[in-house]
């Protein structure tokens, strides 16, 4: 298994797609930074315009914590899409290049081979989010400094700087679980579809439908609470003024169970399927 994981890591490091993905995420970050630098004050002024009639403001809200929160919002679509494209490639490239048959000629168990793909997808996802978090922290704090965070989720919620930082860290952790779910789903889709372009379309569709279903009332309370599209926004709950830690923990645990279920289903399907 270790040798398989090492081989998968080597493939990931060697392929240019990985670096394109990392560069794309950094470009998104940079665009957010540039927009915030030039338009952040205007947006905040507009947001707080009514309050300015009644209050004097002391301190600035355009700070590193706000930038990190905006970067976190790329977890809705941009980042999962990039992750799904790269991770599905772990399987589809094997089909496309015909390397799958070569590997299967060796004394490699099919379930072990595909499990190594899943594990590598998870590791890659965690690494990308960690890198994203680290670069955002360094750039956001060095350019914009510390300060209180303001977030609008039904009410205008203010968090003190230290509290905001703590919440952002937890949000990145919770967001990582959601991103792992997308990566695992994309591997499963790749097993089903095999073709890379078709898998990308399916992955994008999966992402869009998941985002759409997030807002839809499914009629049954259990579905509204624990159906996977309802869990992908769990990180956002860390910015409610009253944080329900138990619900956040439970949602992430359920999402991890979905990941496990997808992995088991994918491994089973791959094991049953003909390689050709």
């Amino acid at each position: 298994m270790r040798a398989l994981l090492r081989a998968e890591m080597l493939k990931l490091i060697k392929q240019s797609k990985t670096y394109y993905a990392l560069a794309a995420i950094l470009v998104i970050e940079l665009l957010i930074f540039i927009t915030a630098y030039y338009q952040g004050t205007t947006i905040l002024d507009l947001l707080l315009d009514n309050l300015k009639q009644s209050f004097y403001f002391e301190g600035t809200l355009l700070n590193g914590n706000l930038i990190m929160y905006i970067v976190l919002n790329s977890l809705w679509f941009n980042v999962p899409l990039i992750l799904m494209i790269v991770t599905s490639g772990l399987v589809t490239d094997e089909y496309k290049d015909g390397t799958l048959q070569t590997v299967m000629l060796q004394a490699v168990k099919k379930w072990k081979f595909i499990l190594a793909k899943y594990i590598m997808a998870v590791l890659f996802t965690v690494t990308v989010i960690a890198l994203m978090m680290l670069t955002t922290f360094i750039l956001a704090y060095s350019i914009f400094g510390k300060g209180d965070l303001v977030v609008y989720i039904n009410t205008l919620n203010f968090f003190k700087s230290a509290d905001a930082f703590r919440r952002i860290c937890w949000a990145f952790a919770s967001g990582t679980v959601a991103m792992v779910f997308y990566s695992v789903a994309s591997i499963t889709l790749a097993i089903l579809i095999k073709d890379s372009a078709k898998t990308w379309i399916a992955a994008a569709l999966f992402l869009i439908i998941t985002n759409l279903l997030l807002k839809v009332d499914l009629g049954i309370s259990a579905l509204n609470a624990y159906f996977f599209p309802k869990l992908i926004d769990t990180w956002q709950q860390l910015f409610y003024f009253e944080t329900n830690w138990l619900a956040i923990g439970l949602n992430n645990a359920v999402l991890l169970l979905y990941c496990l279920a997808l992995t088991v289903a994918g491994t089973y399907l791959f094991n049953k399927k003909d390689i050709g």
Binding site: I43, L46, L47, D49, N50, L51, Q53, S54, F55, Y56, F57, E58, G59, T60, L61, N73, W76, G147, D148, V150, V151, Y152, I153, N154, T155, L156, N157, F158, F159, K160, S161, D163, L214, D233, Q236, Q237, F239, F241
Partner: protein, 217 residues
């Protein structure tokens, strides 16, 4: 002719009475004017329906004739109205007072007066002041302004003869927020009915003052 003379007499007597500025208010003003400068730590608790904010602290610095200065490590929102302990805004332009008698509030017998500015430049439309004449303090006020709406102030003082309040509660009308769509979290639900109902809301800010350093003139 006789009726006209009586009417003129009544009117002029009324105006003469109304234009007399209340002696208790002048005494309070004189007391307030003795404050040359002060610094204090203020602990703020904001209570606005659509704003959730933790308790904040700030340092305030006042010097007579100067704009009040604030400093804080946090982002703080201080009310534009409610920190005018010296009643400068009221006394800025000529005014008249009308005695409204007495009223018992919070177990205290308070003298009630109306302050009506006589100069159009004043932003003040009408102020109702509730004064504890025994200790020469304004305890409560309802301020109606021309441009900045209405706000109420409730002031509590530490036992003793302190000039400045230990607690101030300012109540004011506040318009609902106009949120740019791109700033909204994805989890935000837009309830138009609720938003329309939130056109104007009443907000409250409680301020607790500590560590006063007052320099009297």
């Amino acid at each position: 002719m006789r009726f006209a003379l009586i009417l003129l007499l009544v009117l002029t007597t009324g105006i003469a009475q109304a234009q007399k500025i209340d002696a208790d208010l002048l005494r309070i003003k004189q007391r307030m004017d003795s404050v040359q400068q002060f610094t204090a730590r203020v602990i703020l608790d904001l209570d606005v329906p659509f704003i959730k904010m933790p308790t904040k602290t700030a340092q305030i610095k006042y010097a007579k004739g100067k704009k009040m200065e604030f400093s804080s490590h946090d982002f703080v929102m201080l009310p534009k109205r409610g920190l005018d302990f010296s009643l400068n805004e009221i006394f800025k332009y000529p005014f008249i007072t009308v005695d409204r008698g007495t009223e018992t509030r919070h177990g205290k017998l308070l003298k009630v007066i109306n302050v009506i500015p006589t100069d159009n430049r004043s932003d003040l439309a009408l102020a109702t002041l509730y004064m504890d004449t025994r200790v020469s303090r304004v305890v409560e006020s309802e301020i109606n302004t021309r441009k900045n709406g209405t706000y109420n102030l409730l002031m509590q003082y530490a036992p003793g003869s302190s000039v400045l309040p230990a607690n101030v509660e300012a109540t004011f009308a506040i318009e609902r927020l106009k949120i740019p769509l791109n700033f909204m979290g994805k989890d935000t639900k837009i309830d138009r009915k609720q938003m329309r109902g939130m056109e104007t809301k009443t907000g409250k800010i409680k301020m607790r003052f500590e560590n006063y350093i007052v320099k009297l003139g």
